[in-house]
């Protein structure tokens, strides 16, 4: 996994099912190692079929697929699969086994001792954010989001270099989905796996993918690019339509910001405001919210502010969000520690956007 080798390669892969359906048609694709590659596209376009051909749950009709240089059709499929993590939409947990034993499945298949496999399972529960009190519970006693975490932990148990995920978060509600996505990104930052992730949600694809493969019905690859490229330059009308009308706004998420910060004079609780909108900060200069009007500032008067724009890691999108969501019309930028760094106006963001467009 030293970034250089291309671990998964599709070469002219076609899958024709017994009933004549061509699910994947002449797919050529190189999945880069250590990255998240997302397969996205409308229902029935062959995403699942392509994914399942990687661990030979489905065998290609024509063409070859190699994982780390080895043809997946060589050897016993079970041996191939033990080296590839697999997470599916319904989680697919074993109802009769405890959470701990569910996670220990692959290590036990690989012949680890029981205590070692269980210790590994408990370690992974922590990694995916499950409390140790869940170890002895059964899947039916968990929420959908918790079950998906177990599914991810189970796939990671034997530390496979490759992880296949088929719509793992699509059955949970949007709030839980967001947090699962964030956690996957955090995990990936630590683990650097080669992940192939299937979704039909373009937002999820753009958020998670280092690279996104857009499939079109009939099993054709419509475009394979980094998310920013996909949003900025859709290859054709199909991709354009699929990424949607608000792609202009999404594109902002990939433009690093060059927005000049304005100065802003905040007050602390107890001090006096001079009138108009005034930003209130705590003793560490972290923004608390806004007050209007003149006079001494009481904690109860503070109105919640909008989203904050992190100067170091933010994008034009977060800058624009901060400007538009602030009750005063002035967005608030913060540094790495969350301390006030300056103000942002929507005009400044738009000017920066125009500059970025010109440069592109």
């Amino acid at each position: 996994m030293d970034g250089g080798i291309d671990v998964i390669e599709f070469r002219s892969v076609t899958k024709r099912f017994a009933d004549g359906t061509v699910a994947v048609d002449g797919l050529d694709l190189v999945v880069e190692s250590g990255k998240i590659t997302v397969f996205v596209g409308p229902s029935g376009c062959g995403k699942t079929t392509s994914l399942r051909m990687i661990n030979r749950m489905i065998e290609p009709t024509e063409g070859t697929i190699t994982v780390d240089g080895r043809d997946v059709m060589a050897g016993h499929p079970a041996d191939l699969r033990r080296g590839i993590g697999y997470v599916i939409q319904q989680a697919g947990l074993f109802p009769h086994k405890t959470i701990r034993d569910n996670i220990a499945t692959v290590p036990l298949l690989l012949g680890w001792s029981k205590p070692k496999a269980r210790a590994r399972a408990e370690e992974l529960m922590q990694t995916v954010g499950l409390g140790p009190e869940m170890a002895g519970r059964y899947p039916a006693q968990l929420s959908g989001g918790q079950q998906q975490r177990v599914g991810v932990a189970r796939a990671l148990a034997a530390d496979p270099p490759v992880l296949l995920m088929d719509e793992p978060f699509s059955a949970v509600d949007p709030v839980v989905r967001e947090s699962l996505q964030d956690e996957l990104l955090r995990l990936q930052g630590e683990l650097g796996k080669t992940i192939v992730f299937v979704t039909h949600d373009i937002d999820e694809a753009v958020k998670l993918g280092d690279k996104v493969a857009v499939f079109r019905t009939g099993g054709h690859l419509a475009q394979y690019a980094e998310p920013a490229e996909l949003l900025a330059r859709p290859a054709d009308d199909f991709v354009d339509g699929f990424v949607g009308r608000d792609r202009g706004y999404r594109t902002l998420g990939f433009l690093s910001d060059e927005v000049p910060l304005g100065t802003i004079t905040p007050v602390h609780v107890g001090e006096s405001a001079t009138g108009g909108w005034t930003l209130v900060v705590d003793e560490e200069d972290k923004p608390l919210g806004w007050v209007t009007g003149a006079g001494p500032v009481a904690e109860a008067d503070v109105l919640p502010g909008g989203t904050l724009h992190p100067v170091a890691s933010g994008s034009l999108r977060s800058a624009l969000d901060a400007a538009l969501s602030s009750p005063s019309g002035q967005g608030v930028a913060v540094d790495d520690e969350g301390r006030l760094a300056g103000s942002i106006s929507a005009d400044a963001v738009l000017a920066a956007l125009a500059a970025a467009r010109e440069a592109a």
Partner: protein, 251 residues
Amino acid sequence: MSLLFSYLFDAAHWSGPTGIPARIGEHLFYSVLALALGAVVAVPLGALIGHTRRGGFLVVGIANGMRALPELGLLTLLVLLMGIDLLPVTIALAVLAVPPLLAGTYSGVRNVDQGAVDAARGMGMREWQILFKVEIPNALPLILGGLRASALQVIATAAVAAYVSFGGLGRFLIDGLKSLDYSQMAAGAILVALLALAVEGLLALVQRAVVSPGLRGGGRRSPTAEITTPDSSPDSTDTTTATPEPAGATP
């Protein structure tokens, strides 16, 4: 009333080779033999058909066909063919044991959450591992439900052994009928019913002991888990299986 129980409560009938305990022992012996033979045929067949998902029509055909056989006629035929021997008795009773066990095993294995089976295969379990580590443990409530139904049938019918000169509780029925001793016949009928109930209770305990708590109803459940009873359940009282509901409505 007391006449009805007089045979049963006569201490003289509770000892010796023709006493009640000996007859119960014989009755159980024939029943266990028949159940074992039935299970050896039905469980592997049901598991195989359920696992491969091929030949489900066989299950329906075999089960219905065997249910339709007249027991006494079958036993008579087998004895005519094979002579008076334990084997025809065992086979005739095993024929009763097969349909519930076959249907229970088949539907149990077949109804295992396909997500779990897919995950098992995708994680690198071989087919036999999928069957033994995932499908059968999850099918246990239905398999044991089938076993309980089979046991009930076989015990209730094992009295026919006496019809072809074997022992068991059927002796009281046949001998009582011959000598017009209704109290003896009543004793036979009551003992068969009690024995069936006792075995049923015992198997219910076994089921509690061997079925994973993860498959049992009750206990704390998340709002996303629901309890479903597969239609084909031969015994719907204690064979509920929990299936996680994928649609996430967790607030």
